[in-house]
Symmetry: C2
Subunit: 219 residues, 2 copies
């Protein structure tokens, strides 16, 4: 929610949230083809979104955490275009999109906010395209780890320790590599002393080394 609204406006803006929904780990918030009615603001928990090709291959399109919005993909066709799965027990605010649009017409700041959220998603996907199209396995994983801890740190968590919520296979799907390659690359970073890995636990020992891998010319 953007800040800087008058109290009476805040009252109205509360109307954007119809109600809450709890999603248990492993359950779907929505899936491809579901009628689109609402956006969802993640209050707690962790999600992955994915699309699947007709022959069953899955592509993870993103990982979302508290404060982020899922469901934007549904607006074009009035049907969701991807799956959103909770990777841990989660709690979301349901925001009927018609409410969002109605209030956006009334509050320019909200309108701007919605536009920025959508634009941010477009820019994020551009970055992923760069990763998938131009980067090698090590660069992709380094970028992934840096992005993850940066977002967690912005939420008050450690900037050096992460407990991953997703499997190697899901990381690999997001980054366009196989789970074995993800595992090997984790091990390689570990051998080099850049990170410490123990299953889902990752500690970043040398963030600069990761940045250098991601961005080779900055030395």
């Amino acid at each position: 929610m953007p800040i800087g609204f008058a109290p009476e406006d805040m009252m109205k803006l509360d109307g954007i949230v119809k109600n809450r929904r709890r999603i248990k780990q492993g359950d779907l918030l929505f899936s491809e083809g579901d009628p689109f009615t609402s956006l969802y603001a993640i209050r707690t928990g962790f999600f992955k979104t994915s699309v699947s090709s007709e022959d069953g291959r899955e592509q993870v399109t993103g990982f979302q955490m508290a404060g982020e919005i899922v469901g934007l993909d549904g607006i074009v066709n009035d049907r969701h275009n991807c799956n959103a799965v909770a990777l841990e027990d989660a709690d979301v605010c349901i925001m009927p999109f018609s409410n969002v649009e109605e209030l956006s017409r009334e509050f320019p700041a909200l309108q701007r906010h919605v536009h920025k959220i959508m634009s941010r998603e477009i820019v994020r996907e551009n970055t992923v395209m760069m990763l998938l199209g131009n980067m090698r396995a090590e660069e992709r994983l380094a970028a992934f780890l840096l992005n993850l801890v940066q977002r967690l740190h912005a939420r008050g968590f450690s900037k050096s320790e992460v407990m991953l919520r997703m499997t190697r296979e899901e990381i690999g799907s997001y980054l366009g590599m196989k789970l074995e390659t993800v595992s090997r690359t984790f091990s390689k970073f570990g051998d080099e002393g850049i990170i410490e890995v123990k299953q889902r636990y990752v500690r970043i020992i040398q963030p600069d080394a990761l940045k250098k891998i991601f961005n080779p010319q900055v030395c």
Copy 2:
């Protein structure tokens, strides 16, 4: 522009377009870091958009043709996040984003239209992520060709013949492969009688064969 507006509304909606701009082949409509003020509706011509990594690698993020909108990436940070280059002489409508937002508040149909355009872009990028993350070179190129002719056909052009506006390198950048691989894959499709290729000219002889390559399980 969406349809179904009353004549007097159309007058107002005309205000969304500040003016026109002609871009010559090879010139930039905007580039990374430029202040964001406007969206651009392509009237004629053909564009590519791209982002570049800090060490200079380019990733083509899309090819846009008449009727499509570029500039959505600029909304988040009030700066453009990608480059838009004309691949042929082009003519665009400049739509100052503040006008778009103002009129969106007044006309729900326009508001919905804008939201759909942004959502469509998100969904398109999801598809590209699937291509880059899961598909092999032949599948990517088949999907690319099918998408291109489908869009051209929707604009009244042939659904079997294309004069490509981009180089092998640009196709490769978009699809995450090297120009040599693009060239070889074109040649392979040609040898198999699926398409006819002569430099930038491509004729699709067996669209079903392309669809089958793109989507192996549908036989």
